[in-house]
Point group: C2
Chain length 761, copies 2
């Protein structure tokens, strides 16, 4: 080799080393893009990695969408309409399209997608500086593009990610122009100019914080990032205003604001979101997306470890709160049918899988059958394609409510049956803010995906024009929130807290005992002393799945104690179709049952007077036979009722309910066994086990401290349960004498099975 | 080779040749077994052929069943109980088990299965000769093993096949003993001793004929076969008796009996079974099974060509009468949910595939996901395994009713939509015997598998103890059969034929016009002059699927003409959930709507007085939005009603219906457009097309001879249809002058689309 050639090579080597160093320095100072949820490294793996079918499908769908959009004229109309109207829907379409197009640009580098985004962004840049507030005055915090800041925040939330994805495609001056005329004013409007929207603990603010923060990260503007993380100072006046839902902006007028405060306050330590999973699913997106962006840009915050790693706990909590088919239990204001397949949950699952690599999340993603158009979606799709999916174990769980976990809880009990799963959500948390219902100690029960005893959900058709455009209907308040719409005790036909939010907002029920260590005998127990002034309620649910005793069943032990006489009613929302009962229910002409507290919405369609010490009620729904066997006293009534009265706009479903009524008593105990025992196929026309397996139930002894009761199976076997109602210490010894027999046990409960007078297995 | 060895081989060869010849001769004289549905040749192919997964699954299930049965003690109890009781169910289990075990013996030659059958048969042999009639006296023809001959015939029907399958396993003397003491007396009892059961045209007799005939074929007893094919002489007295359903044994006292007469009389020339598909599915089994046995043993009968090959037409007709998901349209007395997946249809499809090799039947078998345990099931499974399945084209079709095809018809219209299929069953046949409903010119409409406008079906839970053991409930007569339970005109709140079977049994509606050659514009038209003494009804359905006009829709043109004034009501059984209407329906406290003809079962829950010339009605069901847009006159009413009144045992579903009412008029026309136009996902929470696409409808001209009307789309396009009501000749020219405009056309109808006053495409 000649020395000249040697020299040339040497120079080349040095030059390239310098170049690499320069690039590295440049990268350190002027951040790499994308850097929010997508990262440069992550997206390079997407481009070079193996194909993953579910991701390819997402890409194909996105290409189809954007190719269609490219054929349409650019449309950035002057804001005018409410949700459903043209300008609202078009601006929504625009920010989604920009985000999808920018993602496609990241995936395949096709510049036409980036160019489409650029064109749209500059259209917004052109109009934004002169935009007044949106003409509609319906919101406490009006937006500029949309009628409320929340939607404007959605725009900025997605557009921050969009901008980040095409950042390198734009020239420096283009970026400067967009940031100066559009992004910074936009972020300032959402924050500084709307403190009531931005600066409080509320899911609206979470969107605002995340939007402003992510735009800050994308732009490298730390001022915006700090504002997003910690909020900003504001006046007293703003702090005492109310929001659209009637809630106060600040709980105690204290300045608690910004994203980190949201993470501290939105969830209980178990990750429970106080409004319930329907709202949790929606609120979770800005948490997870902004947190991921913070992890990628401010790892020192350790955001996913913040507040004991509550964000990831909240993801699990969300999944736990679903039926076997992945639908959310419809507690509080919730439209039924919302499920893990919702777009917001797809992004949550993919992000979480990207973080944790937990293969059990892949089975949730399989159920969703969709992935996001970014590196997390790609990894999820790849994991599924590589057969790594494992079942997600939705275990029985108690989730505390309240920022400190001391505002009650919900208990979820599950047990596998031969072909399905029985599950119960038992509700003893706080009110759940403005979306809460008056349903202390209520539960709902499912057989797989089918409702056995329903919670009505909300009286609302979201986004449906025929039903007042999708807002909460009057019957949401007059029926869906009322106690009679649930499966819990109503005293004197008045809802819990007399149906008043202000009485309920600071109260919560009390978890008493939760034990699911024995899968054949799971227990959840809770009490409430707030729903009524002079009545204490205590309910215990036993989910029994003991093959040596019989088919699975739920035992519901519900006592109410008062120093005054009351009428107590326990409704069971069986929906349809009543088959048989003992005593027989006499059919009556439909007659409105009451005037208020929800009773004005139901017709009595039948009644039975009970004289025996047990009643049974058998119904048929979704091809299955169900039964309730309950303890009763002479003078009790069974009322068969149906929704539909006082319903001027036909907003209510015509569902059926059965009410077990006890009148003129101080202390009552409702002991009920609920079974899913049989099936009917209209094809074979053969019923299997159409009747209850239970002969009867009996309360042997009840005091403030104890309850001892029996459940007798048709086989002759009897389950005898001793339960301590005021002491859960495992070491305590209990002794009760009832009708000449002494019962001794240790710990909260004792369960034995008896056959022919002898203890058995 | 030594000559000795050569000689030995020669002798061996000759000996074996003689043996083969002897076997062949023996086979010719003493028939080969099995020979009914299974044949020796067919089953040898099953044993030697490739494995077919669906058949293997059937075998596995059968082995499981019989291995379980082998562990139980043999139980042939003294007959005593009704359906549901022990002796009834045990004898049923016995004949099914014997048939399954004998099939397994044929498939794998395991003698323990044959031995199990033999043991059971000899148990029956032991008791049969001393058995009295069954103690229950509920049947017009009591059996010995069961309460009615029909069930005894089922026993013999399956046991003939069982016997045939293990024939060679039994010794000659064993066979003689069984035939003498069990089979011949059993067959004689069902025929000679029960002429009212055996010797008439009725589905019960078909089972009797097939059972006796197949046992005759299995035994080689031609006397039994002849009796099965042609019936036998009987007395006048027997001939005039009534059966359990109240029908006469003979129509005119004439002796028309035996299997060939059943084939001649059970179906219309198009293969329609007059009671409808729910009963057709059950009745079809003995036809197809015995016919197959006859084909194999008496090919000279050409049974599948008999009566123009009606049996195979009946198979197709049965398939046509199903929704997209394979459920039978529930006309007449029919329990909803019964489908092509029923066991009886599995055997029919497999037999038909075995006969025809038609690959489109394989797609039906795929839907069934089951095959029979014989050579036909094997061939079907093999065909599916080899990927030969082709879609079965369920076309739009008119099926005539009556033995000669002159007793009215049903019309089925179908059209593919973007994601599904709209289908309509239009009913203008005869009454359908004792299981018929009073619903002349009614229709039911489906969106894929979902009901858009329902037929209530029967008020019955087959085999369900809680509901009177599964018999037809009183509400079947008082509601389900009444006209108001259907989608057709009721005059003066009296059911068709005044709700009397005797008035209806000999009447039928009249097909007027059926044209489905244009898939964008299918027409079915029929009239009825019998339902009411002084009212003539004429209804025409147009199923329109013309993309240049809009989304698919059903146009319903229904006129009623009388020389007297009447109140006319047209109900639409929309079920749930009313969303909106124009005019708005005022909600009212539930009030029972009438006292009889089904009106005693419904509550009025709302009403609207119409003053405009159009009304619209929008509802939501199964995640879809539907609308009716109807022509109206000032003074018309819309009544919103709901089932549930006068229902002492809560037997009725709480379904909703809407009634369009026109009072005090002689001649009325109901012109209604019914659309399935939109969808709503509770996951995306986005409605698509929640509102009707139709602006309005208008009748421009109506006389006895013509109707000219318009349907106006929201796009501004109008469809103008001229229809000739009394002349279907394609060559006829028609001219109508209406409001100064002359309309000329040739043939039954003329359809044009108009935009901005000009004809368009």
């Amino acid at each position: 080799m000649s020395s000249l050639i040697y020299l040339k090579q040497k120079i080349l080597k040095i030059t390239s080393t310098i170049f690499i160093l320069l690039v590295a320095i440049f990268r350190c100072s002027a951040k790499e893009h994308p850097c929010l949820v997508m990262t440069a490294k992550g997206m390079s793996e997407v481009r070079s990695g193996d194909k993953a079918p579910l991701f390819e499908a997402a890409k194909e769908q996105a290409v189809k969408r954007i190719e269609l959009a490219l054929k349409e004229p650019i449309d950035v109309p002057t804001p005018k309409d409410m949700g459903g109207g043209h300008t609202h829907e078009q601006h929504k379409r625009n920010y989604v399209n920009m985000h999808v197009a920018a993602s496609l640009y990241q995936i395949d580098g096709n510049k036409k997608y980036a160019d489409y985004v650029k064109t749209l962004l500059f259209e917004y840049e052109k109009i934004y500086k002169d935009l007044p507030k949106h003409p509609s005055t319906r919101s406490y915090a009006r937006g500029k593009i949309f009628w409320q800041c929340l939607n404007d925040a959605n725009w900025l939330f997605y557009t921050a990610q969009t901008y980040d994805a095409i950042y390198d495609y734009l020239s420096k001056s283009e970026r400067k122009q967009l940031e100066k005329n559009l992004f910074i004013p936009f972020a300032d409007y959402l924050s500084l100019e709307n403190p009531r929207f931005f600066n409080r603990i509320h899911n609206h603010s979470t969107w605002g914080n995340a939007a402003v923060g992510m735009m800050g990260l994308a732009m490298g503007n730390d001022d915006l990032v700090q504002r997003a993380l910690y909020g900003f100072q504001m006046s007293e006046k703003d702090a005492n205003a109310k929001d659209n839902d009637g809630g106060y902006i600040f709980t105690d007028g204290k300045l608690k604001a910004g994203f980190l405060a949201q993470v501290d306050n939105a969830f209980s330590p178990d990750g429970y979101y106080t409004e319930g999973p329907y709202y949790h699913r929606y609120a979770m997106t800005p948490f997870m997306v902004f947190a991921t962006a913070l992890k990628n840009n401010k790892p020192e915050l350790k955001i996913f470890e913040h507040n004991n790693g509550v964000l990831l706990k909240a993801v699990n909590a969300l999944i736990y709160q679903t039926t076997m088919s992945g639908e959310f239990y419809p507690i509080n204001d919730a439209q039924k049918g919302m499920s893990l397949s919702a777009g917001s949950v797809v992004s949550i699952i993919d992000i979480t899988y990207g973080l944790s690599g937990d293969h059990s999340l892949l089975s949730i993603a399989e159920l969703q059958n969709k992935v996001t158009l970014d590196q997390n979606g790609y990894l999820t799709a790849l994991g599924i394609h590589q057969g790594k999916a494992k079942p997600f174990n939705k275990k029985s769980v108690e989730l505390s409510d309240g920022g400190d976990g001391d505002q009650g809880a919900i208990g979820i009990l599950r047990t596998k049956t031969q072909e399905s799963e029985l599950s119960v959500l038992f509700k003893y948390p706080s009110q759940g803010l403005g979306h809460g219902h008056f349903d202390k100690l209520s539960f709902m029960m499912y057989n797989g995906a089918d409702e056995v005893l329903q919670d009505y959900g909300s009286a609302r058709w979201v986004n449906v024009d025929q039903k007042s455009g999708g807002v909460y209907l009057p019957e949401n308040k007059s029926w869906a929130k009322q106690t009679i719409a649930h499966n819990t005790i109503i005293v004197d036909r008045k809802s819990h807290f007399n149906g008043k939010y202000k009485n309920a907002v600071d109260a919560h029920s009390d978890p008493y005992y939760f034990n699911v260590t024995d899968p054949t005998f799971q227990i959840a127990s809770a009490s409430d002393t707030n729903a009524y002034n002079d009545v204490d309620l205590h309910r215990t649910l036993f989910l029994v799945n003991d093959p040596s005793f019989g088919a699975p069943m739920l035992i519901d032990l519900f006592s109410a104690n008062s120093s005054n006489e009351h009428s107590y009613e326990l409704p069971f929302q069986y929906m349809d179709h009543y088959m048989a009962s003992e005593p027989r229910i006499e059919s009556l002409p439909a007659k409105q049952l009451g005037e208020k507290h929800g009773y004005q919405h139901i017709y009595k369609e039948g009644e039975a007077k009970i004289i025996a010490d047990n009643y049974s009620f058998n119904w048929f729904k979704d091809k299955n036979f169900y039964s309730i066997t309950g303890s009763s006293s002479s003078g009790d009534n069974l009322i068969l009722a149906r929704l539909g009265a006082s319903d001027p706009d036909f907003n209510l479903r015509r569902d059926g309910l059965m009410i077990h009524q006890k009148s003129g008593q101080k202390n009552v105990t409702f002991l009920s066994v609920i079974e899913s025992h049989g099936h009917y196929s209209p094809i074979s026309e053969l019923p299997t086990n159409p009747f209850s397996q239970i002969n009867g139930v009996k309360v042997l002894f009840e005091s403030d401290a104890y309850c001892i009761f029996l459940v007798e199976h048709k086989s002759g076997k009897t389950m005898q349960i001793c339960f301590s109602k005021q002491d859960t210490k495992p070491t305590s010894n209990h002794s009760v004498n009832a009708e000449g027999v002494t019962y001794n046990w240790s710990g909260t409960f004792n369960k034995i099975k008896i056959q022919n007078g002898h203890k058995t297995n």
